[in-house]
Symmetry: C2
Subunit: 204 residues, 2 copies
């Protein structure tokens, strides 16, 4: 099965700007992508990174450049043939077991919800489906599937749900991560400290 | 097995003050507690709500009043006998399947991590364990278990990880919930709207 990993090379992870310099954000996004590809690698999946521009680092998977918006890229991947998996590039807490869980879940479409109404991964087994990542995408994706008469499976996973967008999300990587992105943060001096009883990231 | 559900009746869910009046917070906390008790009910668990003061509503489970801090309450529950489950009262997205998943996970102690470094549920099967809910409790709980030579299991669940503290957490209840707390919010006029591409709660 093909596995498409959309990857935006343009100003990646801009919401991490308060805590990371532009070059650091690029490097951290690369580390997260490597973690996602490592989660896909052990199976019989064919990962394909679809990047908005040619990445200026070595990607350990085939790369296609497609500057269209996310919805168009994913819809084209569905039209090119099902089943197809779509996995976001900013999920540094997933491992091979999570991809297996996604694949073992029945449904014409299977979603792994993200925090805040997102859809962090999916498997599309019927090309009557199309995507809409704007807004509360998990609700839109459920609605699109139901209107097309498709069955829906969902995977309940904290690690799938944890996409990394904001500085507070880095707490999750440090507390639960053990691979490249987590190591990147630790080597960059980040740690979790407790301020007024709440965990916060700090940097030495 | 006993299942202890600590419940703070004093100024419940204070961080929801920006969007809920004090009486509403009490009523919403009651709805979340009912959802948690419904998740526990179908099994052979004996739920026991440990409240800081006598609740002024009918709790569908035995209630003990204990005004001590959370750590002391849970440590007393462990000392009273293992195995014992400890489940937070603000997890309106869990159902019986999640409790089953927790029970079926091997380990002297089993944790269900919460977002932000929390520990939203646990099963303690060895009384050499004790709790420390302050700060990054999941890390502290892993450390306490390891220092006591205990094996640790963890449950990867978005629904277990989603405790409801802040207004933005209500998005999750509206998007993924279907029981009392979700209905409470809908009947109170809350809905999810998209502002600048981000989901936000609004109230009509």
């Amino acid at each position: 099965m093909r596995a498409v990993i959309p990857f935006d090379t343009r100003d990646p992870k801009s919401r991490l700007s308060p805590v990371l310099e532009p070059e650091e954000r690029e490097s951290f996004a690369e580390a997260m992508l490597a973690d996602v590809l490592a989660a896909l690698e052990p199976g019989d999946l064919d990962p394909e990174v679809v990047a908005t521009t040619d990445p200026d680092f070595l990607v350990p998977a085939p790369v296609t450049v497609d500057e269209r918006p996310l919805d168009a890229v994913v819809d084209a991947a569905i039209e090119a043939g099902t089943p197809v998996a779509v996995v976001m590039a900013d999920l540094p807490l997933i491992g091979p077991a999570h991809i297996t869980k996604l694949r073992n879940t029945p449904g014409d479409v299977v979603f792994a919800p993200g925090r805040g109404g997102g859809t962090n991964a999916m498997i599309v087994r019927d090309d009557a489906f199309h995507v809409d990542y704007h807004g509360v995408s998990i609700q839109d994706h459920r609605d699109i599937a139901h209107e097309a008469g498709l069955t829906v499976g969902e995977v309940d996973s904290f690690r799938f749900a944890t996409d990394i967008d904001d500085p507070e999300d880095l707490v999750e990587v440090l507390v639960h991560g053990s691979r490249r992105a987590a190591n990147w943060l630790r080597e960059a001096g980040f740690e979790v400290t407790v301020v007024d009883g709440e965990p916060r990231i700090s940097r030495d």
